[in-house]
């Protein structure tokens, strides 16, 4: 049997997913036995033209990480889709938009103003913003267009599988790679993870009745090590988040922030968490409820931390 051909690509991402692919440690030797990497900009010197010159469907599997936020991301998504038999949205950015997707609370103009003018470390008295085309003595230069709205990979091209996580855990990555190597791929559209249930299902903390009078941010308290973090008033996202990570964050005394996306069957992770969270507030008095809610300074940003582009509304309305 000829070796599998694998491509890896990063679009709008931080690079963490690239490291996560290497976090499979010595299993990478097993991967190298059966697969050749034919494209991997972060690790190997291939050019975009090399991919464009490949025959359609000549790549067996593409692990695509990163959201789609500019013309270049979108171009490579379409190119790699055409060249790959199996397209995997690898990591939360490609799957749900993730942190780059929080830009959907703003638009291009507001993002540029923040990045190129308002940031304290920026000096830009002439208010120069990136242009798609600019004339210089040597000719015309072009850079990819920056979009108003961040999209997920599946909103851009047809995606076969999703690997959740920011970044995906080692065992989740290997679960996907093993399925590829052994040719035992699940039904199309599957979110590849060890669990379809909530993180709470894997969490070993003691759970009693959830009644909360005050919410805290992680820096405000040192939580008790055994007790459910949500019951201690921390916004632990475990009950609205897909498991498979083995409840790593709660194990380290930190609340889950929701990076594995919604549990099976849920469309909008944000409202799912909102519903659960509001239910556990220990008050029936509207004014007291309002006071308790004031402990949550950024509800939409918290609930949609990883999933705004993949949520029902996809973005905020900018007037």
């Amino acid at each position: 049997m000829s070796k599998l051909k694998i491509a890896l690509y990063w679009a709008a991402s931080c690079g963490g997913c690239e490291i996560a692919t290497l976090a499979i440690h010595e299993k990478i030797l097993k991967l190298a036995e059966v697969a050749d990497i034919v494209f991997w900009p972060v690790g190997l010197d291939f050019k975009y033209a090399d991919v464009e010159n490949m025959e359609d469907k000549s790549i067996d599997v593409c692990l695509f990480n990163g959201a789609i936020r500019n013309e270049e991301n979108e171009h490579m998504a379409h190119t790699l889709r055409a060249k790959s038999k199996v397209m995997i949205a690898y990591g939360s950015c490609a799957y749900e938009g993730c942190i780059p997707g929080l830009a959907n609370f703003y638009n291009r103009q507001l993002t540029f103003e923040r990045a190129y003018i308002e940031t304290p470390s920026t000096v830009n008295p002439d208010k120069i913003f990136p242009q798609t085309k600019v004339k210089v003595p040597e000719g015309e230069l072009e850079i990819p267009e920056f979009y108003d709205t961040v999209k997920t990979l599946a909103q851009t091209v047809d995606v076969d599988y999703f690997v959740p996580g920011c970044p995906p855990e080692e065992r989740t990555t290997w679960l996907a790679l093993e399925a590829v190597i052994e040719g035992k791929l699940p039904p199309k559209g599957t979110v590849i993870s060890h669990s379809a249930k909530a993180v709470c299902d894997e969490c070993v903390r003691t759970r009693e009745e959830k009644k909360v009078k005050k919410f805290y941010r992680p820096y405000q308290i040192i939580p008790e090590p055994e007790k459910c973090l949500l019951e201690q008033g921390l916004l632990c996202y475990g009950l609205a988040t897909r498991g498979g990570c083995d409840a790593l964050c709660p194990k380290a005394n930190m609340p889950c922030t929701g990076c594995y996306g919604p549990v099976e069957g849920v469309i909008d992770q944000g409202t799912h968490f909102l519903t659960a969270l509001a239910s556990i507030i220990d008050s029936n008095d509207p004014e007291e409820v309002q006071r308790i809610l004031d402990d949550i300074p950024d509800p939409a940003g918290t609930f949609y931390r990883y999933s705004l582009p993949d949520s029902l509304l996809r973005r905020a309305i900018i007037k």
Partner: protein, 149 residues
């Protein structure tokens, strides 16, 4: 704008508010035809997701109507709603949607007049606000600048 007839979705609980709406009807009370009633067993069944969904498919406003606090058929369903709607309103504002577009009211089975009053007032509120920004965004060309898949 004078011609703007809001589309309003009203989630009414089976035990109080739907009966209240029924009473308003059988008593021939006048209220605008802006509302589309969806009966649910309890206001506690109204997930904030339903509210977002209604707004995203073209509702200009959403009413959530339940039994008065203390009167819930399921003891505490409406208390959960009482906590959820304010949190949803906070999140909506961040998403660029006026919080006044979502309103929670208590209407009992005997309050037909109250039901008509709530619908009248809410219709006026939405008329002042104009069409939902989600509808406007869909119709405007602003979205067309995003490259479509």
């Amino acid at each position: 704008m004078d011609k703007f007839e809001p589309k309003i979705v009203a989630f009414c609980c089976n035990w109080c508010s739907y009966a209240g709406a029924d009473l308003a009807g059988t008593s021939r009370m006048q209220y605008p035809s802006t509302i589309r009633i969806i009966k649910v067993m309890c206001s506690g069944r109204v997930s904030p997701f339903f509210v977002l969904k209604a707004l995203s498919v073209g509702a200009d406003g959403v009413l959530v109507l339940g039994c008065h606090p203390g009167d819930c058929h399921y003891i505490e369903g409406n208390y959960k709603t009482l906590r959820r709607i304010p949190l949803l309103k906070k999140a909506l504002q961040q998403l660029g949607i006026e919080e006044e577009r979502v309103q929670l009211e208590w209407v009992s089975a005997s309050e037909g007049a109250r039901f008509a009053e709530v619908v009248n007032e809410f219709t006026e509120t939405i008329k002042k606000l104009g069409p939902s920004p989600l509808r406007r965004a869909k119709e405007s060309t602003q979205e067309a600048t995003h490259v479509q898949a």
